[in-house]
Amino acid sequence: MTVYLLCFILFLVGLYGIITRRNLVKIVISLSIMEFSVFLFLALIGYVEGGSAPIIDPATPGGIYVDPLPQAMVLTAIVIGLATTAMLMSVIIRIYRKYKTLDVREIKNLRG
């Protein structure tokens, strides 16, 4: 149970970062922290007590394996996270070139 709680705390750390940080890069880092907490949670729910990696060895049939589906989900989600982060970083580089700053307080053309 503790491990799930730690995972949730990590999620809140990321959320805190997104809300309070002013630097665009730090906001993206906070989003990544949240992302990894969710990945950790997904990896944890697939764990089976005493299970081994889910690869069936023809030599030793039977045995306990961990659930492979959450691992596939985490892998897919990591790929998606990679795409989002790359996209965000390239947008930040462009923003820096236009505004000459990374401070969210000075990037406010859109209001109302």
Binding site: I55, L75, L82, I93, R94
Partner: protein, 145 residues
């Protein structure tokens, strides 16, 4: 972009080939061991990124390389999609069906079309990560210029 010192260059020279080979190993054994297309592709891209960072490159060369990686990436993923579509024609006639003989479990050439998916996804992931990397350094070069 400037290269790094002689020590880094020499070490990279020794390591990059091994990293590349290890990536290919992970891709080819995707259906037998942990790893597969995505993990292997990232490792392969890592060897190219090491070389670019250590030896440096000029702006024109980078943009040419980015065009190359974009085309490779799209060709690879298109081939993977065509293999899936071929399932509609061969075998059971179902999208994504495994239309090649399954072979014996645990051998390198087995599991039907899954190794083929792994290979093309490996190429696609390597090319796309390299594209992202090149795009980001091209941005950086444009700013410093």
């Amino acid at each position: 972009m400037k290269g790094m010192t002689l020590i880094v260059k020499k070490t990279t020279q020794l390591i990059a080939g091994l990293v590349f080979l290890y990536g290919i190993y992970v891709v080819l054994h995707g259906h037998l061991t942990p790893g597969g297309g995505f993990a292997g592709g990232v490792i392969i891209a890592g060897s190219f990124i090491l070389l670019t960072l250590a030896y440096g490159s000029d702006f024109m060369k980078l943009t040419r390389e980015e065009t190359g990686t974009t085309i490779t990436e799209n060709l690879a993923i298109l081939t993977a999609l065509l293999i899936a579509l071929a399932g509609l024609i061969f075998g059971a006639g179902i999208f994504f069906s495994n239309w090649l003989p399954a072979g014996k479990a645990g051998e390198l050439i087995s599991a039907g079309v899954i190794p083929l998916y792994n290979i093309f996804i490996g190429i696609e992931v390597a090319a796309s990560i390299l594209t992202i990397f090149l795009a980001l350094i091209i941005f950086k070069e444009e700013i410093t210029k």
